[in-house]
């Protein structure tokens, strides 16, 4: 009782946030039942009849199931790993820039793609990849080669998609790491310099260990999204070309295409349900493993 009294002001301060979380994150959980129902607009969420796991069948009965799960998982693993390496590297490099003006210019220009819509990026990509009008084919022709039909050749797309994703998200990842970096006490680095440590040693022995909690937090958060995919990246950027589906079709794009012609709320909810459950399992497992290895770094 005493404790509640003591913390009362804090609870009151947190109240708006708690209410927001309840409305925005907990109340919609009721809607999860739609994944197991034959949804009827007239009867509403509660009144619609149950239909077991029938809504989930289309995801797994099709022969695309293996492909979409493979694509979704592998791309996300690649995005997470490459994103961390390049994001951390960029943050460390940026941290070495001491002049104010260039620092701002680099920061802004790296962040810029993050603020662009995927539709715009898809046309930026088209400027380079267009078959007849594209910049890259223009160069190839100038050098005496033949046009490459980029939008018809699946083999280029894993690399292209990873490149575009990293290019787009680098700025935001980098800021997260950079904001931790600038908070590190300069004392460590001064002491290391006095002891004759090289820049490389300073990075590996001081910066990276200090950055570890940030990296782990972001890693766990990203693992929660591992069964989801950036719809714009996989749908808009490859221009929805059937020839590329083997390497561009993910759970989200598959669901969109399968239900575009015959919208079905139950079926689309079933896909969202699976994505959430898998994300939840991944977060719990990753956090569990990390808690075992070094308890202080785990998220909860």
């Amino acid at each position: 009782m005493d404790q509640i009294k003591r913390f009362l002001p804090f609870y009151i301060m947190a109240l708006p946030g708690i209410i927001y979380l309840i409305i925005n994150n907990y109340m919609p959980l009721v809607g999860l039942q739609v994944a197991f129902k034959r949804f009827n607009y007239g009867k509403g969420i509660w009144g619609s009849p149950w239909n077991g796991i029938k809504n989930f069948e289309f995801l797994f009965s099709s022969n695309s199931a293996q492909r979409i799960i493979r694509n979704t998982l592998l791309y996300n693993v690649a995005f997470i790993l490459i994103g961390i390496v390049i994001g951390v590297a960029a943050a460390i490099l940026l941290n070495e820039v001491r002049q104010k003006r260039p620092l701002k210019i680099y920061q802004t220009s790296i962040l810029l793609p993050y603020l662009m819509s995927m539709v715009i990026i898809s046309y930026l990509a088209y400027v380079f990849l267009g078959t007849n009008t594209g910049v890259i084919n223009g160069v190839i022709r100038r050098l005496g080669g033949a046009n490459i039909n980029w939008y018809n050749e699946p083999k280029y797309w894993p690399a292209l998609l990873i490149f575009i994703h990293v290019w787009k998200t680098l700025g935001f990842n980098m800021i997260l790491y950079y904001s931790s970096l600038v908070g590190f006490s300069q004392d460590y680095y001064e002491a290391a310099e006095l002891d004759g440590a090289t820049k490389w040693q300073q990075i590996t022995k001081i910066t990276l260990p200090l950055l570890r909690p940030t990296i782990i937090t972001l890693l766990i958060l990203q693992l929660g999204q591992i069964f989801r995919s950036d719809f714009g990246l996989f749908y808009q950027v490859p221009m929805n070309q059937g020839a590329l589906f083997d390497v561009t079709d993910t759970i989200d794009t598959f669901v969109y295409r399968a239900l575009l012609k015959t919208p079905n709320i139950g079926m689309s909810s079933s896909a969202g349900f699976i994505q959430s459950v898998v994300g939840f399992i991944f977060i719990m497992t990753a956090n569990g493993i990390i808690r075992k290895m070094s308890p202080s770094d785990s998220l909860f």
Partner: protein
């Protein structure tokens, strides 16, 4: 005392007047107009003009809900799911009427039409059956003149300049010859284009009943005016010939090879003079509608036979959603819209003098001072009222109405006219089949595949695995049941 009594009497009278007025407050009918999403500043004035007719007639006021077509499906789903009031929504344009009915979005209309829709019954007759699913009426066609044929629209100015005459009706072979002539005389101009290939256009080359799918996911019936067998379109000789023809046209340079990705719409290419023409729906209503996209005169000819079918009627339908607060008033208004030419004209064209002016009997053009690129009101995708009573825009002529009637009278009736396929029992297969079609059909139909035989074999193999045969069986079973009745 007398004074007090009279005051009391006056008070009760005033109160009862208020009560009467309250009981008969006009009901506001919210009706959708589906557009490209532009704002129209004259909508309030048009609503007022309609109210002047509808309040005395049926004690209803009207609110026009302007919805852009890209948001349409989501917006009406959300409105209905959220219980937000809407009274007349367009089914078929973005969400198939059958799906809206099976998902419980629409109210059954049988009794409402029987009691409050005499003019609807008179106008549509048996065509009303197209709004039925398993014997229950869920929607009223928005247009009674929906016979269509596959057609070809082209730049008439360019045809005259190059000395090309496009025969009417035209065959696909004749079109290929025309493309060849164009290639020869104007190498920088394309004959036609297949666009992105996302919706299948083979129904402009062949008489097909597609049962409401804009690809061929439910199977098709070829020559539906004399045949009721449902087959897998993608496995037919006709489809193979269609694909091979397109491949040949790509090789000969009749079509732009990057149409799947360039994002340039066919009509933009035609408008820019870079392309001669394209296949499209043909009906007397189409030419005046499509002329608006071009600054030069266009020509329009038929390729396939004109047919009245369920698909045509289901393209645009009026449904009353479950979130409607007073279905009787909504139906009364819908009936009035088909009966009263003024209401239909206000909703279709706006206000005379403000939005349009009459140039001939039943033919209109923009009113003086209207900027055609930003008009104060415009009907884009919706249809309001009886098209025989609605003014048509130039280049339609006074002959238009006779043409439209003749076209529809001469059209063949599909043997399945009035039958709708309910895909609910095979929803899983339909989703899987649509995903397979999205993967293979566009590249094939745009002539981008080098080994057509191999691609068609894989495509059909995947379709069978996804369950297209089960869909076709179900469709054929439902059709047989429907025909037995």
């Amino acid at each position: 005392m007398k004074k007090l009594l009279s005051m009391f009497l006056t008070l009760t009278m005033v109160l009862s007047l208020v009560a009467v007025a309250h009981a008969e407050d006009p009901y506001e009918v919210i009706i959708e107009t589906v557009t490209f999403g532009a704002e129209y500043e004259d909508i309030p004035a048009i609503e007022e003009a309609i109210n002047a007719i509808t309040i005395p007639a049926i004690n209803v006021t009207v609110k026009i809900l302007n919805v852009g077509i890209p948001q349409h499906a989501q917006k009406i789903s959300m409105m209905i799911a959220g219980g937000e009031k809407a009274d007349l929504v367009m089914a078929g344009l973005t969400l198939p009427m059958v799906n809206m009915a099976t998902d419980g979005m629409l109210l059954p209309l049988d009794e409402l039409v029987a009691n409050y829709g005499p003019d609807i019954q008179a106008l549509f007759g048996d065509q009303l059956n197209a709004g039925k699913l398993s014997g229950v009426l869920y929607a009223v066609p928005a247009d009674a003149y929906t016979a269509q044929s596959g057609g070809f629209i082209y730049n008439k100015e360019m045809a005259d300049e190059l000395g090309i005459t496009v025969p009417n009706p035209v065959t696909v072979e004749e079109l290929a010859n025309i493309y060849a002539t164009i290639k020869e005389k104007k190498p920088e101009v394309f004959g036609t284009s297949f666009g992105t290939g996302e919706t299948s256009n083979a129904l402009y080359d062949y008489n097909l009943e597609t049962y409401g799918s804009n690809v061929y996911a439910y199977g098709v019936t070829l020559n539906q005016y004399e045949n009721t067998e449902i087959v897998n379109m993608y496995a037919t000789e006709e489809y193979k010939a269609y694909v091979l023809r397109h491949k040949e046209w790509v090789e000969k340079g009749f079509v732009p090879s990057d149409s799947m990705t360039s994002g340039v719409l066919n009509k933009e290419r035609i408008a820019a003079g870079q392309m001669f023409g394209m296949t499209t729906n043909y009906s007397p209503l189409e030419a005046p509608t499509q002329q608006g996209n071009y600054t030069f005169p266009i020509g329009m000819v038929e390729i396939t036979k004109a047919v009245s079918s369920t698909s045509g009627l289901q393209e645009r339908m009026w449904g009353i959603p479950v979130s409607c607060k007073n279905p009787q008033k909504a139906m009364e208004f819908l009936n009035l819209m088909f009966a009263n030419a003024d209401v239909a004209n206000l909703l279709s064209n706006g206000i005379e003098g403000l939005n349009y002016k009459l140039v001939d009997e039943g033919v209109i053009t923009y009113a003086d001072g209207v900027d055609p690129s930003a008009p104060g009101y415009d009907r884009i995708f919706s249809r309001f009222g009886d098209q025989m009573k609605v003014y048509q825009w130039e280049p339609a002529t006074a002959d238009f109405y006779a043409e439209l009637a003749a076209f529809n009278d001469n059209a063949l009736n599909s043997l399945t006219l009035g039958y709708s396929f309910n895909s609910e029992n095979v929803a899983t297969e339909v989703a899987a089949v649509n995903a397979v079609i999205a993967q293979y059909a566009p590249a094939l139909e745009c002539g981008m595949v080098t080994d057509v035989d191999a691609a068609l074999a894989t495509f059909n193999d995947q379709l069978v695995k996804a369950g297209i045969n089960r869909i076709i069986e179900e469709n054929q079973r439902q059709l047989a049941e429907w025909m037995a009745q």
